[in-house]
């Protein structure tokens, strides 16, 4: 089962994790990205490419299902403005065995960073600046090439 959603509404962890557990999995792994404060940041704003972004996330989920023996994959990404402490992204994977769930979860967040068309800007009070891509993200994605 694949669930992909791009939405401005908050991400509800309990609901998403319960749905994955109900796949009959022995193990559920998750990663949640949260807006981090510091450096004067008061909020983030996320923009996406309607249509292409949804496709990119579905393609990633399918690639994970092909590569590992998974019972469920959930990829949620928020768009719009988010305050410090709010969730930006949620990856959840369900599998009979923990290794597959954990590896697939790490793969999905690494690849999402480079493969899905999202753009992020930081708000510091009334000032905004677009976030530059990090070389470490490109590097992290390459470790899954096989």
């Amino acid at each position: 089962m694949i669930r992909v959603s791009i939405d401005s509404a908050p991400i509800e962890l309990a609901v998403e994790l319960s749905a994955l557990e109900e796949r009959g999995a022995g193990g559920v792994a998750s990663f949640t990205g949260v807006v981090r404060g510091g450096d004067g940041i008061t909020a983030l704003e996320l923009e996406h490419y309607p249509g292409m972004t949804e496709d990119a996330l579905c393609t990633l989920a399918e690639a994970a299902m092909d590569r590992w023996n998974l019972l469920g994959v959930t990829i949620l990404h928020r768009i719009g403005r988010m305050e410090v402490g709010e969730r930006i992204v949620f990856i959840g994977t369900a599998a009979a065995h923990r290794r597959e769930a954990l590896d697939a979860c790490a793969y999905l967040i690494d690849r999402l960073k480079t493969d899905a068309p999202f753009w992020k800007r930081e708000w510091r009070g009334q000032e905004t600046s677009w976030v530059e891509p990090r070389a470490s993200d490109a590097q992290a994605a390459t470790r899954w090439e096989s």
Binding site: Y49, M52, H77, L112, K113, T114, D115, P117, W119, V131
Partner: protein, 83 residues
């Protein structure tokens, strides 16, 4: 050809989408970027440094030397920063 712009490219151009009809000499994404840079001061600001840009043709990521071919929708944007 429909063009889509995202993030600071959108802001510099002043719109998120426009329809253009480039001359026949414009055959690749890179040539399209060079041509767009001449269209207005906003376009010039957005497209002055092609190395900072990424592109998608009909919703697939492509390199800037990709031929436009029969592209219906070309998107130009900075490197992605989601997650």
């Amino acid at each position: 050809m429909d063009l889509l712009y995202f993030a600071w490219v959108r802001e510099a151009v002043g719109t998120g989408q426009e329809r253009v009809d480039p001359p026949e000499a414009v055959t690749t994404v890179a040539e399209l970027i060079d041509w767009l840079a001449q269209q207005s001061p906003g376009h010039a600001a957005a497209f002055a440094e092609p190395a900072k840009l990424r592109a998608a043709i009909d919703q697939r990521f492509v390199s800037l030397d990709t031929p436009l071919g029969a592209a219906k929708e070309v998107a130009l944007f900075p490197p992605v920063t989601g997650g």
